[in-house]
Amino acid sequence: MAERPEDGPQVDELVEHLFRHSAGQMVSRLARWLGSARLDLAEEAVQDALVRALSTWPFTGVPAEPRGWLFQVARNRAVDLLRRDAFLRSKLDGVRAESESPPLSEPPGALGDDELAMMFMCCHPALPATARVALTLKTVGGFSVKEIAAAFLAEPEAIAQRLVRAKRQIREQAISIEIPSESEIGARLDSVLDVLYLLFNEGYSAHGGPNLTRAELCGEAIRLGEILGGNPATDLPAVHALLALMLLQASRLPARVDETGDLLLLAEQDRHAWDRALIGRGLSHLERAASGDRITAYHVEAAIGATHAVADDEASTDWAAIVRHYDDLLELKPSPVVELNRAIALAKAEGPAAGIEALERIEADPALARYYLLPAALGRLWLEVGDPERAARYYEEALARPTSAPERRFLERQLARCRRPATA
């Protein structure tokens, strides 16, 4: 019996991203039941359910339980597709179709077991790293190929190809959709956390830009992280450390660009615009992260984020503590980019001369050759010590390296300051 439009939840009661998140839950649930070899079938059933909602709800209104409705339709469709599939195969092979276990009729639960199991499949170490990200967004995230391509500035055909190859590999290697046992969960979890961290960073660097899908990756990484943190199997310190790191960084997003979309330096940001609720959640995850005996890079990066979050302004920030955190990070994850960040913190803690000295040591590192932040940091420090000409040369160098439009505008503004130092 169809419900009249006036009966169901109204427009604004459709939770934001309800379809995207439900799609992820439904694909995970159905694929876990059908087996990873039939991932395509699960995806087809879910897509059909969404199209059915589109051709029904405009006339009947939104059902009282939209998620339950979608899941029921997707499940029924999966059963139909499975019968067709089994029939075709029995004809081809001349064998009787195997009897299938009865389908699950309840909508996915709050613990997110299905999504968790699916994340472990998508991030399986046997799959190429680039495929892990695309698969996670497609199956657990409910993103379309087009949206994934937009988020990663790639061609949709390339993403589609990557997914096809990954699914073939999943079938051939019989990678199952399950939560790993306690003995192997540690190593498998690292690979999942890597993917979430990558998603978050992609979104963070694009936030405030014109590419909305890209910026949405931050929220998606946090959402998936919360599924991990909320499930007893993965309620582990490293998970909470990554969540703390993402939430603390995300708290600064509203202040990170000005009203025209231009990037603002930490010192220029209005700290009142930092999201206090996210900082609170971040700090509480950081506390839960402290329970283990293993310190991960996420712990250290979250500690850096927390040091910024609890400071009233840039001047009263405990920069010496931040330098020590970067020293820890260099031991866990040595990289020229971490060296660069440490040098910038060192300049704040001990003055621009110390920063310049540290930056000059890594200036010739080929890994940073295309990285605009290195000459930009040197430009800033030379400006601080009162050498605007030298600073200008570095900003010009920074502008010659690959940058986004807001980053470019930021560098051009800085360059203009070098040329009229009185207003600096």
Binding site: P5, L14, F19, R20, L50, L54, S55, F59, G142
Partner: protein
């Protein structure tokens, strides 16, 4: 006030939309519906089952039944809304921002003839 039947033919959207896009399109239909309901102009609506119509004809005094609708897919009726308006012009105004017209969908409007004055 007169009553108008608004018939939606063919689907409004391709089936390759992402979950997020499907939700956005549904929300557009919902807010169109909500606007009309708010003004008390939406009287009724129904979705019709796809591909299960029957077409009846008399042939030499006998009823002949064929499956229908059997013409092009753009003829398939997805559902209808019964709305109230002062004139065709007003109905057309109400439909000018209708989400069904964002895609390949077609809307047909028919006024229900009011014969009450004939007693």
């Amino acid at each position: 006030m007169a009553k108008y039947l608004v018939i939606a033919r063919s689907s409004g959207m391709p089936s390759t939309l992402s979950p997020q896009e499907v939700q956005k399109v549904i929300q557009k239909y919902m807010s169109w519906n909500a606007n009309l309901r708010k003004d008390g102009r939406m009287l009724h609506s129904e979705k019709l089952r796809a591909g299960e119509g029957r077409v009846l004809r008399g042939q030499a005094g006998k009823m002949v039944v064929t499956d229908g609708p059997y013409v092009e897919s753009k003829e398939v009726v997805g559902g209808f809304w019964l709305v109230e308006a002062k004139s065709y012009d007003e109905v057309l105004g109400m439909l000018s921002n209708h989400p069904h017209l964002d895609g390949p969908g077609i809307l047909e409007v028919r006024e229900i003839e009011d014969l009450s004055h004939l007693g």
